[in-house]
């Protein structure tokens, strides 16, 4: 489960990570894209942090929606509509909730990944955000189905996300700017998969701290 305070914590911690890893994400993107992923994500989440106090007293779905709306107008690159859609879809999936059960969380993750797939017209294995996100969500579902807690599930989710990031080094980019490079994209780690892995790292840290 996750409380509203934990959801807010997740957003703050993730925003910190985007600021902290700004250069790393930008360097990864410079190798195979247009070199702005870190700049875009940190700018977007800085705007999110500024927006957050205006929605503190709202329900979780309104908070997630506000994050998404802010991202689509402040990130600037493709990650804006992609991450923005993910937050908005996650919000819509938990409408009216002030606290999220494990089922709610899984539904929110599934809606978020479904939104990204539709928006980006992408599938797994194309060297994108999805290559860390899908394995992470599958790990959560498998762990919960096996009777583990969400805290335990998120540990496995983060590990699966980083495995996914590693996997992106071995594949050719067929989506986005990196696809112009074709085979030359092999060997490079996908910046979008990396920024998404940090989202599961943030979620893992929040859950470990809350201990539920």
């Amino acid at each position: 489960m996750a409380t509203k305070a934990e959801v807010l914590d997740f957003i703050r911690i993730y925003a910190d990570k985007m600021a902290e890893h700004r250069q790393e994400l930008t360097d990864l993107d410079q190798a195979i894209g247009d070199g702005d992923h870190g700049i875009n994500m940190s700018r977007g989440f800085k705007a999110v942090i500024e927006k957050l106090p205006t929605v503190y007293d709202k329900n979780i779905d309104d908070i997630l929606k506000a994050v998404g709306m802010t991202l689509v107008s402040t990130v600037g690159g493709a990650s804006g509509p992609l991450y923005g859609t993910a937050f908005m879809k996650a919000g819509a999936a938990v409408k009216g909730k002030e606290e999220l059960s494990d089922e709610d969380l899984i539904l929110a993750f599934e809606e978020a990944v479904g939104g990204i797939q539709l928006r980006g017209k992408a599938v797994e294995g194309e060297k994108t955000i999805l290559d860390s996100m899908i394995p992470a969500i599958n790990a959560i579902k498998a762990s919960i189905a096996a009777g583990k807690s969400m805290t335990e599930a998120l540990v496995e989710a983060e590990a699966a996300a980083w495995d996914g990031v590693e996997y992106t080094k071995s594949i050719i980019a067929t989506k986005g700017r990196a696809s112009y490079l074709g085979e030359r994209s092999i060997g490079h780690q996908d910046p979008g998969a990396t920024s998404m892995a940090y989202a599961f790292q943030a979620a893992n840290e929040v859950a470990a701290k809350a201990g539920n």
Binding site: D36, I39, N40, R43, V72, S73, T74, V75, G76, G77, A78, S79, G80, P81, L82, G84, T85, R119, G120, G176, R177
Partner: protein, 127 residues
Amino acid sequence: MVGIVVVSHSHKIAEGAMELAKQMAPEARIAAAGGMEDGSIGTDVSKIITAIESVSEGDGVVILVDLGSAVMSSEMAIEMLPDISQVKIIDAPIVEGTIFSSVEASIGSSFDEVVEVLAGAKAYKKF
């Protein structure tokens, strides 16, 4: 009149395409949605929504885009508008498309006619 929105990562590209089109079709209803609020390179969904609303007279709006997130951001903008029936992203070169559609729209052509002319813009040979 059919409205035209130019969406680019660059403020200057969007403004420049509009400037060029206005020279040929001064009455055309064109809006530029280029770059971010702070001047950075990128596309901004709320800027695109505002642009669509500013040129919409009920006869439809065509959107010309450069690449990548310009398409995704425009799709999101369309989804967020209350009436999405006559707003369409066109796969055409951004400068030529802006000029062709502006001229076509300014002579009072319908939404479908403007869309059709834009299909030709993609195949247009420069020499």
